[in-house]
Symmetry: C2
Subunit: 161 residues, 2 copies
């Protein structure tokens, strides 16, 4: 009877690893299943559906946290459609940004490779690939280069010591 799947069988049907299933359980994406007498996890067929839903949503680029929220909303009784719609719109925008960044990056690499062809005869200082090229690389990175590098601790007094 397919009413009792062990974790490996569920994994096979849903196309994931047992590790991933335990991870999903730990992070609240899958509910803890019942256990057999030998402490093995025992799943019903609904777990397969839930896992496929998760895979599908993840395939759309949603994070596990977002998927968990969607499921929670659904459990709460009201359909998560509006929420999902908003999520997907944000994802699409984010994707566009990421695509633009990658295109820029590819262009930079191509330029670097092309520059190498030109300088390979002249012998640059150390490495024209990295040291040459256009002036600044705006490493869309972490710390905003303002004046204070990290002056966050304004209000609170220092640690009582």
């Amino acid at each position: 009877m397919t009413g009792g799947l062990k974790i490996g069988e569920l994994a096979l049907r849903a196309g994931v690893t047992p590790k991933a299933i335990r991870f999903y359980e730990r992070t609240g994406i899958l509910p803890p299943p019942r256990r057999a007498a030998n402490r093995y996890r025992v799943y019903g067929d609904e777990a397969v559906d839930r896992l496929r839903f998760v895979r599908r949503a993840a395939g759309l680029g949603l994070t596990l946290a977002e998927i968990r929220d969607i499921i929670a909303i659904r459990q709460g009784g009201r359909p998560p459609c509006a929420h999902v719609h908003e999520l997907l719109r944000a994802k699409a925008a984010e994707l566009d940004r990421k695509l633009a960044d990658l295109l820029i990056l590819r262009k930079r690499i191509r330029q670097s490779l092309a520059a190498w062809k030109r300088t390979r005869t002249t012998g640059a200082a150390v490495c024209p690939h990295i040291e040459g090229g256009p002036k600044r690389v705006s490493t869309a990175g972490t710390a905003g280069r303002g004046r204070p590098l990290k002056s966050k601790r304004g209000g609170a007094p220092l640690g009582a010591r």
Copy 2:
């Protein structure tokens, strides 16, 4: 006399955080600097150059491990150009793959959003965004009772990551 920079000053000049500098030191990208009597790290100007090199390479999409290797080769006496060239070519190829994946992903999301417009009047079961769409993943029939299901499921993990 910029012969002795403290970590914050170096960070400011190189456009990174002190945290990142300590991290680079810990992972072997920066050599451990000399210390002042009060155990403060003291850097020379060459550290600024090294850090800028690192940022530039990272801006080209190289990982810190790759950057560390490049630096090691350079320290070894011979210029890392050929190595870097190969690395960049691989990066460019990888980037092309990633771009293709992202384009597919964006298309899927767009389709999902478009499908929503069509079904919003008809009221789907729970969420047409995720549950609708093309079917796939044939469940490999019955789980064999007796043959080992130990197989490498190392396929594509989640969507395009």
